[in-house]
């Protein structure tokens, strides 16, 4: 076309467009924009590793530098997804090792990574810079040694909560003396001791190191030296925060922390001895992020800390903070955006701390910027939820876990429908919601009616029947991920809203009332969905079709069915069969 911009100009303009949504929109404008865009896309996000194949990705985007891939469904975090489910990154790494020699970044979540994989990564990509593995498993410290030894320009190695087979701490010593490129190192999930002198030398020779998260095996005595070697740190995860009371250690720590003028985030704090907490007072005022969720300190100590953190934006803490501590949070931290309160004793029958719904109400009143909440507690009322909703219509994420399943409003003994209804009605920008407590189909009616921006919904022990699910599937226009457990939702709602499933990333249902027959129908009708039946009682073909299945995972895909499923997963094919496997 004579009036179109030259390619180079378009490419230059596109280089300012980084969000996936925008890039995807650009690529749909016309064929030439699609072509130009695909050649200059550098970063790709794959929310479900089985939705697309490595081959398809590589064919369309030949010049990728950064890949982010997610594997297992979210409920895998809570042991609902059996071992061996899948999520192997190996096929991706093999394909990329051939197609993307200039790959720089790999970010993985809930995937299975082997040592061979890590070695392949370390040797295939000459300019490899960033490796983030969040809640991954399948590798050992040997794999980490390959990465340390071979990645010359490594900037980030982040093992966030992965399950690593910890053979020894020796791997860290594989970083060559010439490595000075580290910006971010997170080894908090590792058990073994690494060589402290190797760690100290590594830390002090990397001038750009801004994030360092140590593991528990690093004793408190080592911390001052490490900090002195990296005063530019912006984020620190301490190791074990305990030692016998020694004034010289306390003053050494105090000194070291005072020298960290740029510290914005603190975490770690395992095995905390409260007497050492004052060492961090010098940095409290500058902190924007504080993770005390492994710190078993009591409310008075927590409150003392928080009262000095006026600029806090993010707080993760155990319920030891109690309502009193949350009151102090509400009065002190006016910039608070995210609060997560975890249970210290989730399986105890009785309440061990004085934390109730009141704490959350206080924070919702006092913190005008609060947008993200994760809250475990033992009681809730509709009235409180209504108050919270009216206080904070700017909520984006609201995840409430009342520990006892199907707990009623503790004041009126009614279901909590009205309370959650108020949340979705007032919080128009709500993107993520997790429900708990006693809930009838009515709450789902409210959700379907009001939660138009909702992208992810988690349901457990809720609802009366198919109508509830139908409300959600037919009403929530932005829904991408739906995960349901132990709720009486079944075939009718699924089949009536089958087409909706193709607009979502995935649906998980376990211990619900979905029959095998319905699964077969879905698989037949919607060829662009993978309908995977997870059932550990043997093939569903051996039982009547009306029999309920244990677990169901449905996701849209352009890659067809997968072939790496274990024996207890059956994929319904286009004929509506889930073929028997030959062992």
């Amino acid at each position: 076309m004579a009036y179109s911009f030259p390619e180079e100009v378009l490419e230059y303009v596109f280089s300012f467009i980084n969000s996936d949504k925008d890039r995807n929109a650009v690529s749909l404008v016309c064929k030439s924009w699609y072509e130009i865009e695909r050649w200059c896309r550098r970063r790709i996000f794959i929310g479900n590793c089985y939705a697309v194949s490595p081959g398809i990705m590589i064919r369309r985007f030949p010049e990728i530098r950064s890949v982010e891939i997610k594997g297992k469904p979210h409920f895998a975090d809570f042991n609902l997804v059996p071992e061996g489910w899948g999520g192997y990154v190996y096929p991706w790494v093999i394909a990329m090792s051939r197609a993307y020699p200039w790959l720089e970044e790999i970010r993985l979540k809930r995937m299975v990574v082997s040592d061979e994989c890590l070695e392949l990564i370390s040797k295939s990509f000459k300019n490899f810079k960033v490796l983030v593995m969040s809640s991954c498993e399948g590798f050992s410290t040997d794999g980490l040694a390959s990465v340390a030894a071979n990645c010359r320009n490594l900037k980030e190695l982040d093992l966030r909560e992965s399950e690593v087979e910890d053979l020894s701490g020796h791997w860290l010593s594989h970083f060559p003396d010439t490595c000075t490129s580290l910006v971010s190192l997170n080894i908090a999930c590792l058990g073994s001791e690494v060589s402290f002198s190797a760690l100290e030398r590594l830390v002090s020779r990397c001038p750009n190191l801004r994030m360092l998260q140590l593991n528990r095996a690093v004793p408190l005595e080592k911390l001052p030296n490490l900090l002195r070697g990296a005063p530019q740190l912006a984020e620190l995860g301490t190791g074990a925060y305990s030692a016998e009371l020694r004034p010289e250690l306390l003053s050494s720590l105090l000194d070291a922390f005072t020298g960290c003028k740029k510290l914005k985030g603190l975490s770690g704090f395992w095995d905390v001895v409260p007497a050492y907490l004052p060492a961090i007072y010098p940095v409290c005022h500058g902190l924007t992020s504080l993770n005390l969720s492994y710190a078993t300190i009591q409310s008075p100590d927590i409150s003392k800390l928080i009262s000095q953190c006026q600029n806090l934006q993010r707080l993760w803490v155990l319920d030891y903070i109690e309502d009193g501590g949350l009151d102090i949070l509400a009065t002190t931290c006016k910039n608070l955006e995210e609060l997560r309160v975890f249970p210290s004793d989730p399986y105890g029958v009785e309440q061990n701390v004085s934390l109730t719904e009141q704490g959350l109400v206080s924070v919702s009143e006092g913190c005008p910027k609060l947008q993200s909440v994760l809250y475990f507690c033992r009681r809730m009322s509709n009235a409180s939820l209504v108050t919270i909703a009216q206080n904070r219509p700017n909520l984006i994420r609201f995840r409430l876990c009342i520990i006892e399943a199907r707990a009623t409003d503790y004041l009126t003994l009614e279901p909590l429908d009205a309370g959650f209804g108020a949340i979705v009605e007032n919080c128009r920008e709500l993107r993520r919601l997790s429900l708990s407590g006693l809930l009838t189909d009515r709450v789902f009616e409210y959700i379907g009616k009001h939660a138009k921006k909702l992208e992810m919904l988690s349901i457990a022990f809720a609802g009366d029947g198919d109508l509830g699910l139908h409300h959600v599937l037919s009403g929530c226009e932005s829904l991408r991920k739906l995960e349901i457990r132990d709720s009486p939702f079944g075939d009718k709602a699924l089949l009536a809203n089958a087409a909706k499933l193709e607009t979502m990333r995935s649906l998980w249902m376990s211990s619900c009332s979905v029959s095998y027959g319905a699964c077969k129908l879905l698989g037949q009708r919607l060829p662009r969905l993978n309908v995977e039946v997870i059932d550990e009682r043997g093939t569903p073909e051996s039982r009547p079709e009306s029999c309920h299945i244990e677990k169901l995972y449905i996701y849209r895909t352009v890659a067809g069915r997968r072939f790496d499923t274990p024996d207890f997963i059956w994929t319904v094919d286009e004929e509506g069969n889930a073929p028997l496997r030959i062992a």
């Binding site: 409920f75 042991n79 095995d271 210290s344 989730p346 399986y347 399943a405 132990d486 207890f568």
Partner: protein, 217 residues
């Protein structure tokens, strides 16, 4: 909440207020009912967490019921990640090291180990903190895998294999049921001998050990 010992013909998720422990016995349509019932009887006995094991089991009764540990846990509820559970468990057990080991387990936390059984296509994660003795663990494992015990016609002798993933140290922090009571009780020895399934585990040196060789704590 008791672990169900009746075979339930009901469908998963159909139970209203019940919260079933995952992997409770489900009946396969083709199995002989009486065979399964027999098997169940062999594998269960009266167990009371507060009792000394030496006072245990005079006879295996038809109505024997496993009393669960302090609280029956529903899999994955409340939704606390395994990583967090394990971290908290180690911290708690460190804190309580100096106190006398109680008969009831320290509350909270969990220590997951992977369990596999020959011929069974999947692994389970079992929370060791839920059990105060080898017998409880053995019973729970038997129940978990019992739906397979009749089906494996091609397997002559099989073993239940416990793979301890770097948690051997935690394995030693538990409960207080003594080993001697355990092995002296002849009924229990009969139980172990009569069962085709012998729990064993791999310790951190990679050696296979019979469960029971090392005291529970």
């Amino acid at each position: 909440m008791n672990l169900k010992t009746e075979l339930c013909l009901g469908l998963p998720g159909a139970a209203g207020g019940d919260v079933e422990v995952d992997q409770s016995v489900k009946m396969k349509g083709k199995r002989g009912f009486s065979e399964t019932v027999d098997l169940k009887l062999n594998l269960h006995h009266n167990d009371h967490p507060a009792l000394d094991l030496s006072q245990n089991v005079k006879s295996l009764s038809n109505n024997s019921v496993i009393k669960p540990p302090a609280k029956t846990q529903v899999v994955g509820w409340p939704p606390v990640r395994s990583y967090r559970k394990n971290v908290m468990a180690v911290q708690k057990s460190n804190a309580e090291e100096s106190t006398t080991a109680a008969k009831t387990l320290p509350g909270g936390g969990a220590a997951f180990v992977k369990v596999s059984m020959d011929g069974v296509p999947y692994l389970r994660k079992v929370d060791l903190k839920m059990y105060t003795s080898y017998q409880q663990l053995s019973d729970a494992l038997a129940e978990m895998f019992s739906s397979f015990t009749l089906g494996i016609s091609l397997m002559a002798q099989t073993k239940v294999l416990c793979m301890i993933c770097h948690k051997f140290n935690q394995f030693r922090n538990y409960g207080s049921q003594g080993l001697t009571d355990f092995v002296n009780e002849s009924k229990l020895m009969d139980l172990l001998n009569s069962s085709e399934y012998v729990p064993s585990y791999e310790d951190k040196d990679g050696d296979w050990m019979l469960v029971g060789d090392v005291p529970w704590e």
